[in-house]
Symmetry: D2
Amino acid sequence: MTNPITNIPIPAILEIKSGIIYNLQDIFDRHGFENILMLFDSFTMDQWEANIKDSLSTTKVDTVLMQPHAEVHDLIKQAFSIKMYDAIVAVGGGAVIDCGKYMAFSRQTPFISIPTSASNDGFASSNCSLMIEGKKTTVPAKVPYGIIADLDIIQNAPSPFILAGVGDLMSNITALYDWEFEDRQGVSRVNAFASMLSKKAVNSFVRTPMHDIQDPTFLKELVSSLTMGGVATIISGNSAPISGSEHLISHALDKYAEHPHMHGIQVGIATYIMANVQEHRADRMQKVFTRTGFFDHIKTLEVKKADFKMAIENSPEIKPHRYTYLHEKKYQRKALDFLDQDPILQEILR
Amino acid sequence: MTNPITNIPIPAILEIKSGIIYNLQDIFDRHGFENILMLFDSFTMDQWEANIKDSLSTTKVDTVLMQPHAEVHDLIKQAFSIKMYDAIVAVGGGAVIDCGKYMAFSRQTPFISIPTSASNDGFASSNCSLMIEGKKTTVPAKVPYGIIADLDIIQNAPSPFILAGVGDLMSNITALYDWEFEDRQGVSRVNAFASMLSKKAVNSFVRTPMHDIQDPTFLKELVSSLTMGGVATIISGNSAPISGSEHLISHALDKYAEHPHMHGIQVGIATYIMANVQEHRADRMQKVFTRTGFFDHIKTLEVKKADFKMAIENSPEIKPHRYTYLHEKKYQRKALDFLDQDPILQEILR
Amino acid sequence: MTNPITNIPIPAILEIKSGIIYNLQDIFDRHGFENILMLFDSFTMDQWEANIKDSLSTTKVDTVLMQPHAEVHDLIKQAFSIKMYDAIVAVGGGAVIDCGKYMAFSRQTPFISIPTSASNDGFASSNCSLMIEGKKTTVPAKVPYGIIADLDIIQNAPSPFILAGVGDLMSNITALYDWEFEDRQGVSRVNAFASMLSKKAVNSFVRTPMHDIQDPTFLKELVSSLTMGGVATIISGNSAPISGSEHLISHALDKYAEHPHMHGIQVGIATYIMANVQEHRADRMQKVFTRTGFFDHIKTLEVKKADFKMAIENSPEIKPHRYTYLHEKKYQRKALDFLDQDPILQEILR
Amino acid sequence: MTNPITNIPIPAILEIKSGIIYNLQDIFDRHGFENILMLFDSFTMDQWEANIKDSLSTTKVDTVLMQPHAEVHDLIKQAFSIKMYDAIVAVGGGAVIDCGKYMAFSRQTPFISIPTSASNDGFASSNCSLMIEGKKTTVPAKVPYGIIADLDIIQNAPSPFILAGVGDLMSNITALYDWEFEDRQGVSRVNAFASMLSKKAVNSFVRTPMHDIQDPTFLKELVSSLTMGGVATIISGNSAPISGSEHLISHALDKYAEHPHMHGIQVGIATYIMANVQEHRADRMQKVFTRTGFFDHIKTLEVKKADFKMAIENSPEIKPHRYTYLHEKKYQRKALDFLDQDPILQEILR
């Protein structure tokens, strides 16, 4: 038995603090990064490109403006048209981060996430969501070498982005319950360590004061908990620690709804539904979504009940090899009933 | 850059549940353990040896009764007098676990902790506390291959053991604050990932319902949070994520007090003191120690204020290379004043 | 210092023996592979598909016929159109192996090489040579999970394939000499461990009896030495341990010659030239190429001296960031002179 | 399948060259070693301590003179009486290297071997040979962080040390043959990768010119091949790739002979015997031992045939869980006959 202990890769850089975006030189120095490629979307390029470049004294930076809705095909073409960099850095939301993550994976170059919002856990995960032949696909890449979150920036992102992050994080609770259910059915096996990380991440968060979602303490808790959820998926080798029935509903909405909403928003509503179906920590869920203003925000969005109905009905086919609560007719029925009868949902959905 | 991502070793087995101690065969099968050495202390041998053996169908087990106050010298002698086993398992409290951990390290055999109480985080850490030439010494070993905690057993341990675990876990808060302080002084560097794990571990715990410390949910939270603290030390490569000024006080008590108390008990009191010195989360500390009955238990123990006074004064010399709050005269003074004036301490100490 | 020792990934399966191709079930069992995708080219499908399938009792196999000259774009499309397999296996020459390696990389699935000839070290390396937008590109992938070489098959491959393998392996000698030269110029740093593996691989080979290149002992030596060279590149994180000035000449031929020859054939001739330029082990080189029949084979191929002249002249631009002997005018001149004057080259080239 | 590829630890420093012992500062700088403990035996301290210290500009060095025949007990006591160093370095033969290796293991500090002779492969292995309660015991430790061999020094070691190294390296051949035999009996399983490294190491060596065993090229080959054998044992997790029946004979001599000889000397003679018993590469063995002067040297040593007889008879009990050729009566008989009848042995043994 030569290798009895499991080794897991973790990000070598993890910085979550105010103003860090203008102190990158220090970080680059410590890791020997002398040549960097930095990717932006049009908004983040406009906002931060010039100042970040000004703040760097020795590291050379080339910058690129990324287009939305990237095809894997084009990312690879782009990845091999550039020279060899010490690291590829992406500054922005989920889309530009996924592009950078995949380009870095293709070239086997270290990748650094600089998320400008906390709207989901993509900045810490090893997967990307990209287009292959026009179809949105979950594509494996690598765990980021570094995660750098500037709380000043995340704080100033529009509050719906923060609420989406809350929705995505809360889903750990229902996802873990689904995973244990699946394990009891013999369909998969819970990885205790991954499960523990995901659970601690959300438990630590749900007990944070929530009166001000722009408060740095709250945001640091949110970002670090999303990060820890991402690391949990690295350990388990699949997305089960942070993605269960509630994510199936969101994926079905992306596929079938005419106007899908932000990932974390859809996931949050679905999480509220599934917590009630599972009858597990549903009160806690309601408190968090009420206190953070998540429910109030939904009211402003024109989210359609009919879309959720269809999504619940189609959810099992999204991942036929899994076995969540929604893969049993009985619980699917229960979810549909709850959708029809819960007073909160009647108020916030259309 | 061939190896850009940091790899950390984590336990391959992590089981925290009721009745698991009689389901070891399953676990052994999954990991191919056919020959096991199992270590007990006199109490645990009496309680569980026969039943555990009965519950195993195929794995062969040899058992050994370990003596208290083990010298490293004797453990090595013993380790090399036995044949080669697939794993060494220790069933009991900190002492027998440390013996097993070191014997397994010496033979480079996988080690499995089966703690019978939650009184400290030793079952998950990579260090042991052993005697070298009659002197208690912190000795590096290896991260356990497995941690198996039976909640039925831990629940029935005397409540002081549970309270000691609470004390040891709460110290993460003051330890992390010391670590950041030390980092600002340039004496060490906080490992962000280790810090995050330790913080989530204790944050998840402090927000758990505490009306019944024998409740399985509470105990599972306690044990898993202690485990995660242990893993944090593996990542940082030192004990800083879970051991700061409050541990120095406890070590000084072990060294100088006539009658030292249980590790977690001493650490808990010291943590309460240091949280007030640091002026960081002291209210939370007070709530946890009140609600769990920690303070009430101290009243029954004859803990001497004079011992704490001496321990605070001698704490910096315990680890002269560190730089915690107690390494500054000003804060040492503040700790001594608090010891003299805090109403709670006047009530619970002698 | 938490991680003082360098960890390198090595293939978990390494089988080089006669008849192994019909004993795959055993290997698959040991590694838990129940569902396999197996890729063939038209020749290997015709030869072995039916018999391999017949030999497998429990593992389910889907097979695919791969087309030559694969574009990365198409491989990714294909990779994401298939279901999740436990492993992807490629049976054939360099082309189909590179396809399988990249598809497996894209899906992060274990990859197993089953080379049917020993014509180069691609079956053991972590890179592929694929088309991106019509341009041949070296694309990083992952080290194979397994390498399975059936000596019966390799023995029966046409002898030019074996000779090409000899050429590719002998280039370790000139490549290592270039690497040390480059290190002395301060352009790169020799990784001592990678260098040692590559050197032992070729040294072990050059001293093997060479009267019969179809002899299983000779072939096992050739295949295992090529494998060890591949592992050396994993350790160094670049191709330097097995690719220097002689590979630049071959790459230039691929780019500019009207009719390029097999990789290992071009590399072998270039290695003979460079050994004489470097004045290092040129005699040994001549003996190996004479005894194995490599030189005799070249005579039959219509290899053009003019192509080599042009390739030597263009070689530095192929990898401008490197600094081999050919990056110095003086040695480039020496190579051209040798090309013009060496009696052997006058005899074997046109 | 999260971790499909096997990771092996390899030395981070590997330097085999002339004069390197006075260029340690460079190496220490690159690895951040500012405080070093350096162990010597009385000979090496006398020879090199002062000059090494003079050659170091910034790294601080404490030096210790180690006593022969170290008890594990005393090494641990010593290890915990010293402060924390960045690395522990041992300069000398097998004895002082084993002491340093174990002290470094106990403190979990990086260890660097500086062998002053090439008499065995201990400088590269992860085991030590130490005394436990007066009994010589093989004790697991850790793979060295670094191996630094100065060819000027090794060249000037008395030639018997070099010949012992030749004996220890040649044993790879018989050890590997035993391992395959054992595998066929179903007693163990050959690790193909470890086997390949060990085989290439010795194959590369046997084909080196041997007219001058003090020649730097010869010595570099010898030292690097011994190193590669050591790495092979790390991969296999046991000593099988470099230790078979021939080592059992040497261990039995250490245990029972009145005057044991140097490890590599005993192993070399036993290797010659076993190659003839196995009827595998016995001619090659004879050539190497003749050309290097190994046989001539034996004649000067008063090695007793009777001791070898007894050692062969007692060899199986040394490692009863293994199954080498000597574990079968038939081959044991053959070994005894060969001992009695081989003309060379009659000439060189007494």
